[in-house]
């Protein structure tokens, strides 16, 4: 219903063409009764529309925005890098604590054995494994060669039933340690033999797992036929040591015997006199 309080709303709808025919009739009737409101229609100008100034802009949009996910992402990336770095450092630390460096005694696969065989006897090969492995290795070994030619053998994985043997490069034998007085020390499976350098004969040098021994084909002692001991027993320098020791013992025994005989021959044993002399 059109009243004096809402007439302006109806006039606005009239000017904007939003009134139905019935509402227009009601409005016309109202304006007839209240003619002073007709003047308001002429005062209204629908062309007076305010235009927004597009140059006026809010410049601080970014300060209002929320970037929680982006922040979380960058935070995640940052802490991931820290975590990875920490794990890496921890890994290095643990590996240094628990992982021991490999050495010849711990290598159980692909032990390289180079042998120069100079006799008809079985070769002297000894790997740098534990005693059990050594036994297995020796048992599984095949005779390398019975010819008097240079023969090289490569023994792979002692755990395998058949150890493939391949001809390889020539043996290079060098004294392990040079000492003064022309003494040369050889290390054979943690045992050391030594001799004078002049006595070296390169053709009779055996290299076993980078350890050098001398293959003495003259050894005939049946007590030394143990294959496990063969590299050492066949070693000329060990043999010489043993021989020297035996000769020293023999000399000492001879001297003792000589002394005893000298005493027996020259001093008459008298218990009474001995007692006096002792006093």
């Amino acid at each position: 219903m059109i009243t004096k309080e809402n007439i302006e709303a109806y006039l606005l709808d009239l000017l904007e063409g939003n009134l139905s025919s019935e509402e227009i009739k009601d409005l016309e009737a109202f304006l007839k009764e209240n003619p002073r409101y007709k003047e308001m229609i002429s005062l209204y100008d629908s062309s007076l529309v305010l235009m927004a100034d597009k140059k006026v802009k809010f410049e601080d949009k970014e300060s209002l925005k929320r970037n929680n996910k982006t922040k979380a992402f960058y935070s995640y990336i940052k802490y991931s890098f820290v975590a990875v770095a920490a794990c890496f450092i921890l890994f290095i630390f643990v590996s240094k604590l628990f992982i021991k460096p490999l050495d010849n005694t711990t290598i159980k696969t692909y032990d390289k054995v180079m042998v120069q065989n100079t006799s008809n006897s079985s070769s002297s090969i000894l790997s740098s494994q534990s005693k059990a492995d050594k036994e297995n290795t020796v048992k599984k070994q095949k005779p390398i060669s019975k010819n008097n030619t240079k023969t090289l053998a490569k023994v792979e994985k002692p755990q395998e039933k058949e150890i493939p043997l391949e001809l390889k490069e020539e043996v290079k034998s060098e004294p392990k340690i040079l000492l003064s007085n022309n003494m040369v020390v050889y290390e054979v499976d943690n045992l050391i033999a030594y001799t004078q350098e002049e006595e070296l004969n390169e053709k009779e040098i055996i290299e076993v797992d980078n350890l050098v021994a001398y293959n003495d084909t003259q050894t005939t002692n049946p007590l030394l036929s143990n294959s496990l001991l063969s590299p050492l027993i066949n070693n000329k320098y060990v043999y010489q040591l043993r021989h020297n020791l035996e000769s020293t013992i023999e000399k000492t025994q001879n001297r003792v015997n000589y002394a005893l005989s000298f005493i027996q021959d020259n001093i008459k044993y008298n218990p009474f006199e001995f007692t006096i002399a002792k006093k």
Partner: protein, 158 residues
């Protein structure tokens, strides 16, 4: 409303809301503060406000914050709500209209700005300004009559 939609609201509506506030209070710093407060409210209520109604929410919140701000300042500093523009240079009709706009009461100014600047319907303006549709139409009608009267007066003076 998602975070992405919230940021989209900032891109789409912050400029128009800022213009609406600047036109009403003629103070860009205060307009910025009010706009920041408005978007803070929107973020806090983003779960309740649908993206389709976000623009209406922004203008409603901005308008009421502005009214509260005006009331607070008038009580505090005893500043008159309408200011008289004394500039005599009228280069185009838009400048005259802008000056005429300053002569309008706050509610009429807000109504006509929402209508002309943002193209809101009378119903939407009523929702924003918390008025009935009839009251919005009356305010806009009266505002346009006053604008024309102002222009005619200026023309007579010049």
């Amino acid at each position: 409303m998602t975070e992405k939609e919230y940021n989209l609201c900032i891109n789409n509506y912050s400029d128009s809301a800022f213009r609406f506030l600047v036109k009403n209070i003629k103070d860009s710093d205060t307009a910025k503060d009010i706009l920041q407060e408005t978007f803070t409210k929107l973020w806090e209520k983003k779960e309740d406000v649908e993206f389709g109604k976000a623009k209406s929410y922004i203008f409603t919140s901005a308008y009421h914050t502005m009214i509260n701000n005006i009331k607070y300042n008038s009580l505090k500093f005893n500043i008159p709500q309408t200011q008289t523009i004394t500039s005599n240079s009228y280069n185009d009709i838009n400048e005259v209209l802008n000056e005429a706009l300053e002569q309008l009461p706050q509610i009429q100014k807000a109504s006509i700005l929402l209508r002309d600047y943002e193209g809101y319907s009378y119903n939407e303006i009523g929702d924003i300004l918390n008025l009935s549709q009839e009251q919005v139409k009356i305010n806009i009608f009266r505002a346009r009559v006053k604008l024309k009267e102002y222009i005619v007066t200026i023309d007579n003076v010049l």
